[in-house]
Symmetry: C2
Subunit: 689 residues, 2 copies
């Protein structure tokens, strides 16, 4: 096969990879695929029993490739393949590539089970196909029986046949398998299936599991451990099919809502770290059980697992004390990718299962951000991409194929509804969308759990059923932006008390003014303090973004990705009116949901993605916003809506923005300046100490 191809040999083209080559008649299609580096699964090693190596012949003229592909050019189904079909069946047009041979020119389709990026947290699924090259492979072999004349051990003969039939050299063996080898071989009547793990090409492949007979199931989990939510995909490593996706709340919430209060808990309680590690691993295990139940998969068939998470969750999950992350210089215990074992982490999956944890980018930009980078691939784009994950700490990644920079910014909890008078988490009854009439200054809104706007007929009934209980994060952004667009407040965020004369919803609150959004059993109002909290949060995020843009010497971005749950609910238009993100075509602002989880899934299904993200993370330049003298200036400019100095021409082309003030108004801003600074400092302190 390594001799130069004979030009009279049939030409075979594999789709969708497009790889092609000439092979002598009679060559099994699987062998041709292997030789060209086309990934076609096979567990049984060409015995026509596992059915994993299915392909489809595309018939017709492929002028571009100068191929006329025909079913006549593939061998007639023979005995072994026929026996498989009689026993298990085969979809129309499918053939087993281990048995079907090349008899003429062919275009061969390798069917890809489409990976659905099923969003766990109320998100529309995105379709995406991930080319598979998993770190775990199943290999069925038939081992020689013991022979007194050649007294190689049972395990040694197993290794020898795995080398002979599958090319695995220098195999290591997971310790727990050694005592079981003899019984497994005899139970399988010398036919066994070994699960081989090899991640780095430079690492030695390892037998991590062994079953008697043909074992045709191998699954993996991809998990994003977020501060509030843990999300998990269960996927077949043999087909790429997602068997189940689910999420659960992180039980560590009981140790503190935000990350820094959890670090404090560890610092204050001698057994705090142990308790929190136990809690998160317990939740992960409960989720493993859930997705396996939903997917009808035996937990023992889960052989590989990939995890992402923010640095503190990453550390706690791995059993590392996160205290150092709570204070400058925010030193990670480990930033590189971590290779571990499910048994080391107490995971309720196969005892030999491996674990891969993506690298962290910096002390506040974790493996979850790395997962999002892997998913959105800024490093493969010519266009400049901004990725933002808004949370208590916002993670910001900016770049393209030339250069990528990253930072975190202490936005504080305002966007999550904390420190807002009527703020609450997203839950039924929470106000979700807000519009304010520019003329009447009257609001209308929707609540979670109802399709209706508050001025629609029938809304009263829904409101009575669900209650109108507060404003969630997305509504906070919308109401503040709409108050600005309606002229209820100035670009500096000052609610205009003079408007109280026009609409009684503008009410005095000491020496400042508030806006009454709803008056039901509960009065829901937006106070001057609420507006300030939103300004501080958005200014911190924007200042971080602006700093990164400055590092790259750019004045605009081409495309924006909102990662994370929060980004999926906010309207890009309002985020931009608020000046949360820089000016950009609105159509180029996209919510990508749990991109971190998608990145984990990619790394699970294809180990090449692990090398890719490790290399990208090494290249990403980390900016520590707290150390940048320019941060403060950007922050102050970003207190204005949308910004004191930065233009928003693309936004202005689509949204009627109020005219900019010509100069700083007196009084309030002058008074606000020191107050702002101290608030910012408090935010930073809260986030980092």
């Amino acid at each position: 096969m390594n001799s130069p191809p004979n030009l009279t040999d049939p030409l075979v083209l594999f789709m969708p990879s497009g790889k092609r080559g000439r092979f002598p008649k009679g060559t099994p299609i699987l062998d041709a695929a292997r030789e060209l580096g086309v990934y076609v699964e096979s567990v049984c090693g060409g015995r026509a029993t596992c059915g994993r190596c299915q392909i489809e012949v595309q018939e017709g003229q492929f002028a571009k490739h100068k191929i006329v592909s025909s079913l006549d050019n593939i061998s007639v189904m023979g005995g072994r393949e026929r026996r498989y079909v009689d026993k298990r069946g085969l979809a129309d047009g499918r053939r087993l590539s281990c048995s079907a041979t090349i008899e003429g020119d062919l275009v061969v389709d390798v069917p890809q089970d489409t990976v659905i990026n099923a969003q766990v947290v109320r998100k529309s699924p995105i379709e995406r196909t991930i080319e598979r090259n998993p770190a775990v492979q199943l290999c069925y072999v038939e081992v020689d029986e013991p022979d007194m004349h050649k007294p190689l051990g049972d395990l040694d003969r197993l290794k020898a046949v795995l080398e002979r039939d599958w090319g695995w050299e220098d195999l290591l063996v997971s310790q727990h398998i050694i005592p079981t080898v003899q019984a497994t071989l005899r139970k399988g009547n010398w036919g066994v299936t070994a699960a081989i793990h090899q991640d780095l090409d430079s690492s030695r492949p390892t037998i991590i599991a062994l079953w008697p007979g043909l074992h045709n199931e191998a699954y993996g989990i991809a998990c994003d451990i977020g501060s509030t939510t843990i999300a998990m995909h269960l996927v077949s490593l043999l087909s790429g099919r997602i068997a189940a996706s689910s999420g659960t709340s992180n039980p560590q919430i009981r140790f503190g809502e935000d990350l820094m209060s959890r670090v404090s808990y560890v610092m204050m309680n001698p057994d705090g770290r142990v308790a929190m590690t136990k809690a998160v691993r317990g939740a992960v295990n409960a989720l493993v059980e859930k997705v396996c139940r939903e997917g009808g998969v035996d937990q023992d068939n889960v052989l590989d697992a990939v995890f992402v998470g923010n640095p503190i969750m990453h550390h706690l999950f791995l059993g590392i004390d996160p205290t150092e992350l709570g204070q400058a210089p925010f030193a990670l215990a480990v930033s590189g990718a971590v290779h571990s074992w499910g048994s080391e982490l107490g995971l309720a999956i196969n005892f030999g299962a491996r674990v891969y944890v993506l690298p962290c980018i910096a002390g506040h930009v974790g493996a979850d951000a790395a997962g999002a980078v892997l998913s959105e691939q800024p490093h493969h784009q010519e266009r400049m991409m901004l990725m933002v994950d808004v949370g208590t700490n916002a993670e910001i990644v900016l770049g393209n194929s030339q250069r990528v920079v990253a930072a975190s910014s202490p936005t504080g909890p305002a966007f999550e509804g904390a420190e807002i008078t009527s703020g609450q988490r997203a839950a039924p009854g929470a106000i979700e969308r807000v519009r304010i009439d520019k003329d009447t200054l009257e609001p209308r809104f929707t609540i979670i759990g109802s399709e209706l706007w508050s001025d629609d007929e029938g809304f009263e009934a829904d409101a009575a059923r669900l209650g109108v209980t507060g404003v969630c994060g997305s509504a906070i952004i919308e109401v503040v932006a709409e108050m600005y667009l309606a002229g209820i407040m100035s670009e500096d965020g000052v609610i205009d008390g003079a408007l109280a004369a026009r609409n009684p919803r503008i009410v005095a609150d000491g020496r400042t003014w508030s806006y009454v959004l709803h008056q039901g059993t509960q009065k829901i109002l937006i106070t001057q303090t609420d507006v300030r909290a939103v300004q501080l949060a958005k200014a911190a995020l924007y200042a971080g973004i602006r700093l990164l843009m400055e590092k790259l010497g750019i004045d605009h971005v081409d495309t924006i990705r909102f990662a994370g749950a929060f980004g999926s609910f906010i309207d890009p238009k309002y985020a931009m009116v608020l000046g949360l993100i820089p000016d950009c075509e609105l159509a180029e602002v996209k919510a990508v949901g749990n991109a971190a989880g998608t990145g984990a899934l990619m790394a699970l299904l294809n180990r090449d993605y692990r090398r890719e993200i490790e290399e990208v993370v090494r290249r990403i330049e980390k900016i520590e916003t707290a150390l940048e003298p320019r941060f403060q200036a950007h922050f102050i400019h970003a207190m204005a809506l949308p910004n004191k100095v930065d233009p928003f021409p693309k936004l202005a082309a689509q949204v009627a923005l109020p005219p900019r003030a010509q100069s700083s108004p007196g009084g309030e801003p002058g008074q606000a300046a020191p107050r702002r600074r101290s608030r910012e400092e408090r935010t930073a302190r809260r986030a980092r100490t």
Copy 2:
């Protein structure tokens, strides 16, 4: 340094390796040694703090090497080295090679702490120097402090400096270290010592332990798990010094004296395997504690461990059910070397410590035999070496640099004193040496615990104190051989009843005769049945040896090694008179004691020996005596003393052997033949089912 050496540069010769090279003036001697591949230890990495890199300059004219070596040609002691000497002292003539530089031609001696092959079981120590190249190395480094601008994790920066200062690339990290890295780095004020394990050159080196500051102690254990005795050396991996050696009885004896009864125990008892694994690991741990206490070594400083043992002990120690070893085809679960972790096997040593288990040769020729081969090195000799380890199963290895063959032979327990009327284990009061006067047929003997012969003055007192309780293995061989030499029995092993007239010690016992060796509180006699048991045992061993000689096409061996405890007590002359071993110069028959333990020690101190024994074991041809049709013929000839057909010219030159019988005497042998066969079959059955 990689440029061609300048012929005007000083010439440096390292002893004892004899490696030499030219180096520019000012080159530290340690660097020169490294470049030439001379192993000089260093933990601190050239900071003149660990004191491990000591060398000595040899002064004088070395005409053969054309070097005039002088203390003037080494740099004057400088500041760092001076500070070390002031603090820790340095033996006269010693220098630190990391600090002392080359200033002219030198002959440098790298002092080797002589490894004493301290025999555990009452054996005279053999001196031997083992060149060191251990699998574990200590490396002190000073890690960069965390930097917000370059947020590499603490562990990642540790790995980076281990690569920069010590050349370790692609380091893996033992899982248990990850959560401790940050505290260790801070405790050591960023100076830490890492223990790096690398065994195979193709495997990735791994950080297995980490200490704050300079940690200057690393030990290993070499352990031979025998059926009756477990023996252990504790040795410094940094100097090769043996800190302690000790032994303990194998507690598995309570599950059955011989190996096969232990296999039966496992087969009959559901938890038998678990109980026996627990027992042997518990005994190993007790021995670890003992040698560490004796050597004044913290168990946590034991970082590597090498084990040998017969196949059944090997399996039970590793937690493998040995049932398959109890029946044809005697399949080992694993025959290749096993790499494991102390924590996996529950060993009371450093949690990250590694374990290496030598390969097994065959189902009845274990890792202990491999250790003995490594120790005695038949594969490096031109002369033909026979190695024998006598036990219930005798292991036989025969060969030279051309070819090595191995087999086991079911000798049964006779040599251990079992199935012998007055047999007992070696213990005070047991008869140890025996001589019989050819004229009077009167015996004299010694007992364990006394220096005196039974006809010496004062023996009565010793006998009264110790008792005369039975005959141990070595005495059984001597008394049977002496009875033959004195003419009390024929070459066919028949005790001559006619001699009862000459000496009343020959007494009737039914239709056969016995010889009364001692008449005290206990009557100690050698019966015809005892003689038959010895004949059967020695015939089985000799037949195995003869079979291997036949395989190699040789009619004599050049040198013989008795390994194991038994071999150390028997007199080669009597072993040869008995025909236990083939004819050979008596001076060439040597007891080597616990050669298996010595082999383990070699593999512990130098990982090259691991590769050597793995390669040799692959090459060794295994002969299954039970399957060889010629075994039976050799066995029958070997029933005679010393042998029915094989000549013993070298023995005859030194010992007056009785004249050979011209033909088989009638009666007894004819009757004995079927009885012999059935006995042999029973022995084989006992050993293998």
